[in-house]
């Protein structure tokens, strides 16, 4: 039900949150030797998520009408990728703070935009319910 109300934005919000988490961990590990920076391929992740929910073959089959629909968590294996550093460092760390910071800020802005979309959806529905 919630799926049909918020559409793609619910998935987008989940992936943005995950991406924020990954980028925060890159920044926290900026001084860890041999740490490899990672990032979420947003386009691929969203594609995978929406495919998963649109195709019936991947849905869990219910043996009783009273069963709840199963909803699995994001599987991150495919769209979590390693960042290619522009300037390699001696200790094997591939975090470039300026890049990660910029990506984190960008992700935060997009996160806010997604929240804004959901918000206007809610007020739209609320308006419809009130009959205004």
């Amino acid at each position: 039900m919630a799926d049909s109300i918020f559409g793609i934005h619910e998935k987008a919000l989940q992936i943005r949150t995950l991406r924020g988490e990954v980028l925060a961990s890159n920044l926290a590990n900026a001084d860890t030797p041999n740490f490899k920076a990672r990032d979420v391929d947003f386009r691929q992740a969203l594609q995978q998520e929406s495919d998963r929910f649109s195709s019936q073959s991947l849905q869990m089959s219910k043996t009783s009408g009273q069963h709840l629909g199963g909803e699995s968590l994001l599987s991150t294996s495919d769209f979590l990728k390693y960042r290619m550093p522009t300037q390699p460092s001696l200790d094997g760390n591939t975090v470039e703070e300026h890049v990660e910071k910029a990506q984190f800020m960008e992700n935060a802005m997009q996160h806010q935009a997604t929240l804004e979309f959901i918000n206007s959806k809610i007020s739209g529905i609320r308006g419809a319910l009130k009959g205004e």
Binding site: T17, L18, S25, N29, A108, I122
Partner: protein
């Protein structure tokens, strides 16, 4: 809500950088602690960072922790100073192998990283607040 996890991750980063700042402070404070033999002389301490690997392999994001604090094995500075009260029988004193320039650079790097983690926390906090305010 895994935005709370961002706060945890940044907190581990801040903690690790605090330890690093502490070792810098200790190194700087002991830069002039001389002694009469090599064993008793202060050696520069350096923290070694390590990613916290969670038990689950599917965990994409992880924090950082201080694995250990190692003592710098670089040779100590021997100085011929027979008039020094700490001088040994041959007239030498030992000075710590603390490199002030290195420590300054370390301190700046640590404080910048600390700031970065605070910024990440602040941004995440704003996003969380906006999420809470959805539909209001």
């Amino acid at each position: 809500m895994s935005l709370f996890k961002v706060l945890d991750i940044s907190a581990t980063g801040m903690h690790a950088q605090t330890v690093r700042l502490n070792t810098v402070a200790s190194n700087m404070a002991n830069v002039d602690s001389v002694s009469s033999n090599a064993e008793d002389t202060y050696r520069s301490k350096q923290p070694v960072f390590q990613t916290i690997l969670e038990d689950s392999i599917n965990q994409p994001a992880s924090g950082v922790r201080v694995k250990e604090i190692v003592e710098n094995q670089a040779p100590l500075k021997m100085e011929y100073n027979p008039n020094h009260p700490m001088a040994n029988d041959e007239g030498y004193i030992y000075r710590p192998n603390v490199n002030i320039v290195e420590e300054m650079a370390n301190m700046m790097s640590a404080s910048r990283s600390y700031e970065t983690n605070i910024e990440v926390m602040n941004t995440s906090k704003q996003l969380l607040l906006r999420t809470i305010q959805l539909g209001q």
